[in-house]
């Protein structure tokens, strides 16, 4: 920095590492001292909640894990909250994954957070979800949109066994489930375009209801489908997850993580305001064109 620089010029040229450290430290603070601010609920979260409330024990829902372990912070809490709601409603659940090879770890995390989901061979008491009867997990299926289309046409053409090697025809839940026609709702949690794939291949062809629990950026791209009546709801990343936790009355990880969002967002906005003040003050003095 030069000698004759004004305070505004100096402010505009702060070393980026100072900014990074400020961000890093400020993100840690809410975890140590939570703020616990109230959360209002978006229309799309309500819409998904209300749609699931119309479902019952005879309905089958696909929960598609299209996010990797690396995106757990944003996607997992919403995925867990919606799964919990489905369990509350007694809806049958099929879990699978077309996008990420590490989905087994995600499924383990979901099971750890929803104790009612009993794994294969585990005894299931009243209120529990018995594996194979109330829920099933198929693991990773490669292939992208082509596979999503193929699953819509004929699930058995893609899947012969579940993740644990049980033939599909021996799984009671799958007895009458052959294609997208037999699925009431597909909830896709994605960091990519899988929400679009399900709308294109499931909703448009078979009329299956589609909802997305995407990363916040996907919310922007998914809203046109919701507005056009092609989707029944959407959760906006961690924010949507916190809203859903509030709706089902089970506060969890999303509610805690939302505090970090308060600080980081405020910091970004303050940075923008300071940078713009610095910019205008410098420009007024003829420093920047």
């Amino acid at each position: 920095m030069g000698e004759g620089q004004t305070i505004w010029e100096k402010m505009g040229a702060i070393d980026r590492r100072i900014l990074y450290w400020a961000l890093f430290i400020s993100l840690a603070l809410p975890y140590i001292k939570p703020l616990g601010l109230p959360v209002s609920i978006a229309e799309t979260s309500y819409a998904l909640y209300n749609y699931i409330n119309t479902l019952g024990p005879n309905d089958v829902v696909v929960m598609s894990i299209e996010f990797g372990v690396s995106a757990w912070s944003e996607c997992l809490p919403g995925f867990v909250a919606v799964s919990k709601h489905l369990v509350q409603r007694g809806v049958k659940i099929i879990y699978w994954c077309v996008g990420y090879t590490d989905c087994d770890l995600t499924m383990e995390a979901v099971m750890a957070r929803i104790p009612q989901l009993k794994g294969p061979g585990q005894p299931a008491g009243p209120g529990d979800y018995k594996y194979g009867v109330d829920w099933v997990y198929f693991g990773y299926i490669a292939g992208g949109e082509t596979t999503v289309a193929q699953l819509a046409d004929n699930i058995r053409n893609v899947l012969r066994t579940d993740k644990y090697g049980t033939p599909i025809d021996e799984i009671p839940l799958m007895k009458n489930v052959n294609s997208a026609r037999d699925i009431k709702l597909v909830v896709d949690s994605t960091t990519g375009d899988y929400g679009d794939y399900y709308v294109r291949q499931w909703r448009m062809r078979y009329g299956t209801a589609v909802a997305e629990i995407g990363i916040a950026m996907n919310y922007s791209t998914f809203i046109p489908y919701y507005q056009a009546g092609l989707a029944v709801g959407a959760l906006k990343g961690i924010r949507g997850a916190a809203e859903y936790e509030k709706l089902i009355g089970e506060f969890g990880e999303a509610t805690i993580s939302l505090d970090a969002l308060n600080i980081s967002h405020l910091l970004v906005i303050i940075a923008i305001i300071f940078a713009n003040i610095s910019y205008f003050m410098t420009r007024r003095k003829g420093g920047v064109r």
Binding site: R16, E43, T221, K236, R239, L258
Partner: protein, 219 residues
């Protein structure tokens, strides 16, 4: 013989016929065509399993080259790459017939190396977004101001603190999310789809030669 088999027209024909049948099977209820397209989809899924190996082979060639040539500052990292790939993979190989791979030589690096590294790399953009907000997000023009104001309002709306600052923030955020951004996202959606359809049809009729011939000629 091989010169006949590598003629660009053959690839154009395959791409066009497969695309045509896929579209035909969607819009017309001809069971034979629908069945054929279902088989196509099955084979495509199977080819995608091999695509992972293709990615590995391509990367392996580069890293073998680095090791052979002792490329300064890189070759020993290429060895790290191979070791961190081959040791867990070879350990997992005898267990591929089981429902899940359970050997700790595979699961330990999966849980404690792959997972945190993936998340850390994914999250690095957070730093850049922050410094970009500070350095580049300036109200230099009306366009930049619109972008900036809309962005800040959505940020305030996404964090509960926005509601504490001003109780109308959620209403504004809801409008921006549900209505304000819809024309933009919808126009991008429509124009991108039109682009896909147009490009696909050009491929189908062989007009997009660069694609169907993969650069044409030899190789």
């Amino acid at each position: 013989m091989s010169s006949v088999l590598r003629r660009p027209e053959i690839f154009m024909f395959i791409a066009g016929v497969v695309m045509g049948l896929t579209l035909f099977g969607y819009f017309f209820n001809v069971p034979q065509v629908i069945d054929l397209v279902t088989w196509f989809q099955t084979f495509a899924t199977h080819v995608s399993f091999f695509a992972v190996w293709l990615g590995f082979l391509t990367a392996a060639r580069i890293h073998i080259y680095n090791i052979q040539r002792r490329t300064p500052g890189v070759w020993y990292f290429s060895i790290v790459m191979f070791l961190s790939c081959l040791i867990p993979f070879l350990a997992a190989l005898p267990e591929i017939a089981k429902p899940s791979i359970e050997t700790p030589i595979y699961t330990w690096p999966f849980n404690w190396v792959y997972t945190p590294l993936g998340a850390a790399l994914y999250a690095t953009t957070g730093f850049y977004i922050f410094s970009a907000a500070y350095r580049a997000f300036r109200a230099r023009s009306l366009e930049a101001t619109i972008l900036l104001v809309a962005g800040c309002l959505v940020m305030l709306g996404n964090a509960p603190i926005g509601e504490v600052i001003w109780n109308q923030i959620p209403t504004i955020n809801d409008w921006l999310q549900m209505t304000g951004q819809t024309p933009g996202m919808r126009a991008l959606n429509i124009t991108a789809a039109l682009g896909i359809v147009y490009f696909g049809l050009r491929v189908a009729i062989g007009a997009e030669k660069r694609v169907t011939t993969f650069g044409a000629g030899g190789g």
